[in-house]
């Protein structure tokens, strides 16, 4: 080469000659990300996962995943001389004899809680804004799988220290395995290497927790993020934002600084929490022994809904010829979450089928503009919330001095009644907000200024709304429900398979039937004209 290159240029050329990628890099650096606070929720989840990998790697240097019994002789005096497993002893060592070990343990646990909260709220954002619609259905599925895996991973981690709480959790896991029809005893015997608790389970759980599940999650997260980049981010409606563009800041430098900086914020806050707020103080619970349990013991928040469903399930158990079917465990711990997560995973297709809307969507819905979806979401959340509250029925009983039986019965009925009420209320609120939007377009916003007209009448002055707000409101897409298919064809012959179509039309009507349509262009023009007249009147009230 004749032209002398700078060292940086030479390094870049070296890399590009071997890996190519200058084009990809250019595209990446110019990539545009729309700005909205709710788009950070997924980032929090991603960053928490990274923090979990970092802190988890540290912990693995010290944790001994073994159920071999030893006598504790570390520096935590109250447990000196107590028999316990190496898993529990090494957890105590991490907490008391490794400087910074306690901090790392607490970072790991706090990050796990943040990870699951962030994933959940991120999912709610995606749901309520309709970001799961074409072309993002598969990414919704990946996200749902990540949520499920996150719950399992969190529970596995919680079970590893072999303290009294985690051992009780494993005992419950064994009970649930036993409830599986036909193969339950086999599953339990194989997983535990014989009887509960045995000596095999924690080493096995450890490899599941540190290798198997995180490996799968890492792969899914990679695909999840790549798909976000490939599809380009969705955006909220606003001036200049259409289905055909994406408006925001370029990756280099603004988004890089904001998103990169945000990683450090999340990490910093997690470390700060771990510094001042004690979490899962395993030394206070003691080692696991099968004959002890703490009253009022609670699982981590994300397991609460399953604990709750188990608590309020009535005692139903069947004997089939010579075999026992424990529906009191099977339904709340396996069937119910199975149904919940199946509905979650398939929701994009359920809605697309029900509404017949199979177009691409890059502009997000405002939740009010999809009232049925929003109401269904709130309904599901209420259902989840009741289950979650049920997981603390004993705590509620103690805190408010109520009968646990009365609370449990209330929750049993509430589980079916309250979600229905939540659905109706949410839908009404959404439709009311739609009407309000329509009013704003047609009558402007209320200014709070009262004007007395010459003949004595008082009116409130309405002013036109801003262009920004107008664009937001006008982004609403009015959808006409599918018409009922003709029951007979042109020759009067009954059309076969019309049941499915009829059902689809009914569901479509359920989704869109009571939509409050946007005003037409003519109506808006008339309204603007009218508003202008008022404004002129106000300026020259003397006439």
């Amino acid at each position: 080469m004749s032209v002398k290159q700078s060292r940086k240029a030479r390094a870049l050329n070296w890399a590009d000659d071997r890996f190519g990628g200058a084009g990809i890099l250019r595209t990446a650096m110019n990539k545009v990300f729309p700005d909205h606070w709710s788009f950070m929720l997924g980032e929090i989840a991603l960053y928490s996962f990274v923090i979990l990998l970092i802190s988890g790697t540290y912990l693995s240097f010290f944790f001994v995943p073994s159920m071999t019994e030893i006598v504790y002789n570390g520096s935590y005096v109250p447990l000196k001389g107590v028999k316990m497993t190496e898993a529990y002893a090494s957890t105590l060592d991490i907490s008391f004899d490794v400087r910074g070990g306690l901090l790392m343990r607490q970072i790991h646990h706090w990050a796990a809680l943040f990870f699951l909260i962030a994933m959940t709220v991120h999912m709610l954002r995606i749901f309520f804004t309709g970001a799961f619609r074409r072309p993002r259905e598969v990414n919704w599925v990946i996200g749902s799988l990540l949520l499920i895996l996150g719950i399992v991973e969190g529970f596995a981690g919680y079970g590893l220290p072999d303290d009294l709480l985690s051992g009780t959790g494993l005992r419950i896991t064994e009970g649930i395995m036993l409830a599986i029809p036909v193969v339950g005893s086999w599953v339990s015997s194989l997983v535990f290497g014989g009887e509960f608790p045995g000596t095999e389970f924690i080493p096995r759980l450890y490899i599941v927790h540190v290798l198997l599940i995180p490996g799968i999650m890492l792969a899914l997260i990679a695909v999840h993020v790549l798909l976000v980049a490939f599809h380009k981010h969705t955006q909220f409606p606003g001036p200049g934002r259409t289905e055909k563009n994406v408006v925001g800041y370029p990756l280099m430098p603004v988004y890089m600084a904001k998103a990169g900086g945000f990683f450090f914020i999340v990490f910093g806050v997690t470390v700060f929490m771990a510094a001042i707020a004690t979490i899962n103080p395993v030394w206070m619970f003691g080692p696991y022994v099968p004959n002890a349990v703490g009253a009022g013991s609670q699982p981590d928040w994300y397991m609460g809904f399953l604990d709750g469903s188990t608590r309020i399930m009535p005692a139903i158990e069947f004997t089939l010829i010579n075999y026992t079917l424990s529906l009191n465990l099977l339904i709340p711990t396996l069937v119910l979450p199975g149904i919940m997560f199946t509905l979650l995973i398939f929701y994009p297709w359920i809605e697309a089928w029900a509404t017949g809307d199979k177009r691409e969507h890059h502009l997000l819905d405002r939740p009010r503009n999809a009232p049925t979806r929003t109401a269904l979401g709130v309904m599901a959340l209420t259902f989840y919330g009741i289950l979650w509250i049920s997981g603390g029925n004993d705590i509620i009983a103690v805190a408010f001095g109520l009968s646990i039986n009365a609370i449990t019965w209330t929750l049993r009925f509430g589980l079916f009644i309250l979600p229905a009420i939540a659905f109706v209320i949410t839908k009404r609120i959404c439709l009311a907000l739609q009407r309000r939007d329509r009013d704003k377009l047609l009558h402007g916003r209320e200014t709070g200024q009262i004007l007395r007209l010459p003949h004595g009448e008082f009116i409130e002055i309405h002013a036109p709304i801003s262009e920004k707000e107008k664009a937001k409101i006008l982004s609403k897409v009015d959808i006409e429900p599918l018409a009922l298919p003709p029951a007979t064809d042109r020759d009067g012959v009954a059309v076969p398979q019309s049941f499915r179509k009829r059902l689809q039309a009914k569901v479509s009507h359920f989704y869109f039937g009571d939509n409050v349509p946007k005003p037409s262009a003519a109506e808006i023009e008339a309204a603007e004209h009218h508003l202008q007249e008022i404004a002129e009147n106000v300026e020259a009230p003397s006439h």
Partner: protein
């Protein structure tokens, strides 16, 4: 497909760009620059403080914090310094982006994801040609045997899991308890005399020999099944029991022994209300009536709490009359 009946699309509107102070005022820009630099410098400072705290603070000192209670001073010191050191990097970067980097939004076009019709057709052609070349459709014998082989190939991977454990035997149907085996207190392993059991109290007990067995086998399997509770109820208040005759009753003068393992999911039960003789599981609130054969009176458990028949031996200590008559702990498929 539903019809979109919207009369209107949002039109790109010209909105006047609002300039930030730092965009128009050099002094404000300088100030923002100093703020960002101060945050980065704070981060560096806290990293130094972290090292100092790590090296100097005693790891065992406990301090009281408002709201958070007693915590370790060392943990707080290294955590707060490390947390702030990390936090300020992020805070500085974001402040920089917000105040000084361009805040003009840019627009990027979206493109269709799908390939062109020609590309799709070409792929189908290539695939068909490849398929024809391989002859897979013309040779069903090869195709079917291959499918069979592929369908079966995961089988070894599943079969290889067989020796994860021994497979269920009769261990769920029996425990260590046997005729004449003494009841020992749970913690100190002392035999129990009837007069050691006052009315109202709940005593946790294990079978004699459990301790020695555990020393030998080094696991808690037997303990997980054989733990019991012993209570004394006024004999007049006992409504029914699960077994025994008038000559050989399962209680001893109102002293009753029950399994401690909940028949719901197997939590050890610990809450006993002496006035009502109710036993409550802390995990899912299944409630049993010990005065009435341990039957379930509330909660998700479906099976009564198994009773252990007891009596006294010649030396006057409580002993079992035999093993439980029914399996203890959670239900399972082969139970009945």
């Amino acid at each position: 497909m539903s019809k979109d009946v919207s009369p209107y699309r949002p039109q790109p509107a010209e909105i006047e760009h609002e300039y930030r102070r730092a965009d128009i005022d050099a002094r404000a820009a300088k100030k923002a620059e100093r703020q960002v630099a101060l945050m980065f410098a704070s981060s560096a400072l806290f990293t130094v403080l972290f090292v100092v705290a790590f090296a100097t603070i005693d790891a065992t000192t406990v301090i009281g914090l408002p709201v958070f209670g007693d915590v370790y001073a060392f943990n707080v010191a290294i955590g707060v310094t490390m947390g702030l050191a990390i936090f300020f990097i992020g805070a500085g970067a974001i402040h920089w982006a917000k105040k000084l980097m361009p805040d003009v939004e840019v627009e990027e076009e979206r493109h269709d994801f799908g390939s062109s019709a020609e590309e799709k057709a070409e792929i189908v052609e290539t695939f068909k040609a490849g398929s024809a070349d391989s002859g897979v459709m013309q040779r069903p014998l090869i195709r079917r045997t291959l499918l069979a082989a592929l369908a079966l190939f995961p089988v070894p991977l599943v079969v290889l899991l067989r020796d994860l454990g021994p497979g269920p035997g009769d261990e769920r149907f029996r425990t260590m308890w046997s005729q004449g085996r003494r009841l020992l207190t749970d913690v100190s392993y002392q035999p129990i005399r009837p007069e050691d059991v006052p009315i109202g109290n709940l005593i946790n007990a294990v079978p004699e020999g459990l301790h020695e067995l555990e020393e030998e086998v080094k696991n808690l399997n037997e303990r997980a099944k054989s733990v019991i509770i012993v209570v004394r109820i006024d004999p007049d208040e006992i409504v029914s029991q699960q077994g025994g005759t008038s000559e050989e009753p399962w209680d001893y003068n109102g002293i009753l022994a029950y399994s401690k393992v909940c028949t719901h999911v197997g939590c050890p039960i610990s809450l006993y209300e002496q006035r009502t003789h109710h036993l409550l599981c802390p995990c899912h609130q299944s409630t049993y009536d010990l005065a009435d054969s341990g039957k379930v009176i509330f909660g998700p458990a479906a099976r009564r709490m198994p009773q252990l028949g007891i009596t006294i031996d010649q030396e006057g200590y409580l002993v079992a009359r035999g093993d439980f008559a029914e399996p203890i702990g959670p239900s399972f498929w082969e139970l009945s």
